[in-house]
């Protein structure tokens, strides 16, 4: 036995006469026994019958048209339209030009590609690879100048520190045992010797020749100072002070310093 739910969707088709024999019989037997479905089907039938209002109206409209004359009228309209040159779409307008345009477009595209390629190659050759790799570029001249300036500043610093140490030694009345001065001077001399080692590569530059000469002399003196021990004799102290004086180291340092200060890069 089919339920109301099973047959619900068949109701409209039943009223439209579109149900197969089997389902129609099922529906008819169900409707006999189901008042609720019968009522709903009746309501739907009223809706479908209402379409008759429109159908009657349409029949009047159909009757009012001159069907004998219409084919000729339609043919006139259609053949006139067909004879009239149709407004072409943009694609259709361009179609006659297409064989020519294809080669023109191809030429333009090829030109753009080749031009771009040539420009790329030229620019690539001109630009140093470092530019693209490191995103920073400095000319060799610039780097030389920077290195010279660094050497100048470091040499000045070295000379000033050496000058202070030499002044201390020259003015000291005693570096003897128990004063601690000898040990201090020896430590400072060792520091400056280490600094000199770092300075040596910079002093190779020809513009630093004078500075190199004085730095080398100071280095010798500091080598000796670095050997100073607590049991340094009075005679040895005198000898070092004599070396500073004999070689006019302080004066030379002053001169070289002045020269370096003036020759700022």
């Amino acid at each position: 036995m089919k339920t109301c739910q099973d047959l619900q969707k068949d109701r409209a088709a039943f009223l439209a006469g579109e149900l197969g024999l089997e389902r129609r019989e099922l529906m008819e037997s169900h409707l006999k026994g189901c008042a609720r479905c019968r009522k709903e089907v009746e309501e739907m039938r009223k809706v479908i019958d209402a379409a008759g209002l429109l159908r009657g109206e349409m029949e009047k409209a159909v009757a009012s048209v001159d069907w004998e004359a219409l084919p000729a009228k339609v043919a006139d309209y259609v053949f006139e339209k067909a004879a009239r040159p149709r407004r072409l779409t943009l694609a259709e307008r361009l179609r006659p030009l297409r064989p020519v345009m294809v080669s023109v477009y191809a030429g333009i595209v090829l030109g753009i590609i080749l031009g771009s390629l040539a420009t790329f190659l030229v620019l690539k050759r001109q630009a140093p690879s470092a530019v693209s790799d490191n995103k920073f570029f400095a000319s060799p001249e610039f780097i030389d100048r920077v290195e010279l300036e660094m050497a100048r500043r470091q040499t000045l610093d070295y000379l000033q520190k050496s000058q202070y140490l030499l002044l201390d030694i020259a003015q000291a009345s005693s570096l003897g045992k128990g004063t601690g001065m000898a040990e201090l001077a020896s430590g400072r001399a060792k520091d400056l010797l280490a600094k000199k080692k770092y300075l040596n590569p910079h002093l190779v530059n020809t513009r630093m020749a004078k500075a190199k000469a004085i730095c080398d002399q100071i280095e010798l003196l500091f080598l000796e100072l670095s050997q100073i021990s607590d049991d340094l004799t009075e005679a040895e102290i005198k000898r070092i002070q004599g070396m500073i004086e004999d070689r006019r180291l302080l004066l030379k340092i002053n001169l070289v310093e002045k020269e370096l200060e003036e020759s700022e890069v």
Binding site: K9, R11, A12, A13, L15, A16, E18, E40, E43, M44, K46, V47, I48, A50, A51, L53, L54, R55, E57, M58, E59, A61, V62, S64, V65, W67, L70, P71, A72, K73, V74, A75, Y77, V78, F79, K81, A82
Partner: protein
């Protein structure tokens, strides 16, 4: 609804071939054969004689322009009615929706919300207006199926061919259309649901 003369399917294909060559007589024969069918389709959608005749002209113009695209073996009437249906739907969308809203500022819902109408006192003219407004309120596909079945009196399988959808879909759309109309029109038809 019966529509004019009828010709065999094979003859139609021969006529279409002639139309492809530009034969005016063949074209007029096809128009004479199918004009009423096309008119009924357009009128049932637009409900205006002049507009329906415009659609008839446009349908045959479209047929003439696309005759070469018609494939032998296809049902010519369904193909032509598909063109007519598409043109009618376009025409309706362009010109009718707004026009009918303008003509009927009161919506169906508002009418329903008003005092309960007495079905006995509703005149045939009022009933017609309410019914037509209900038809307009239906979704396009539901409206098309309902009108084709109950105004054009096409069978479900013919509607299926014309709209290029399955018979099952036609049945479902028809059911929904009837249910919706029943719901909206109930106060005017003495329906108590």
């Amino acid at each position: 609804m019966e529509s004019g003369r009828s010709i065999e399917q094979g003859d139609v294909h021969a006529l279409v071939k002639e139309v492809q060559k530009g034969n005016r007589e063949a074209f007029m024969t096809i128009v004479a054969t199918y004009q009423q069918r096309v008119f009924v389709m357009a009128y049932s959608m637009l409900r205006n004689k002049e507009d329906a005749l415009d659609v008839v002209q446009e349908t045959f113009l479209r047929f003439f322009q696309k005759a070469k695209q018609f494939k032998e073996g296809c049902n010519f009437q369904s193909w032509l009615l598909q063109i007519a249906k598409n043109l009618s739907v376009d025409y309706y969308r362009k010109n009718y929706r707004k026009r009918r809203e303008f003509e009927s500022p009161i919506s169906l819902d508002e009418i329903q919300a008003a005092a309960e109408p007495d079905p006995a006192s509703s005149s045939a003219g009022e009933m017609r207006d309410v019914f037509l407004r209900g038809i307009d309120k239906l979704a396009t596909r539901q409206r098309t199926v309902f009108v084709l079945r109950h105004v054009d009196e096409l069978q479900f399988h013919e509607i299926s061919e014309t709209l290029n959808i399955s018979v099952g879909t036609v049945k479902s759309l028809h059911f929904k259309a009837v249910q919706n109309l029943r719901k909206w029109l109930s106060p005017y038809m003495g329906i108590t649901s």
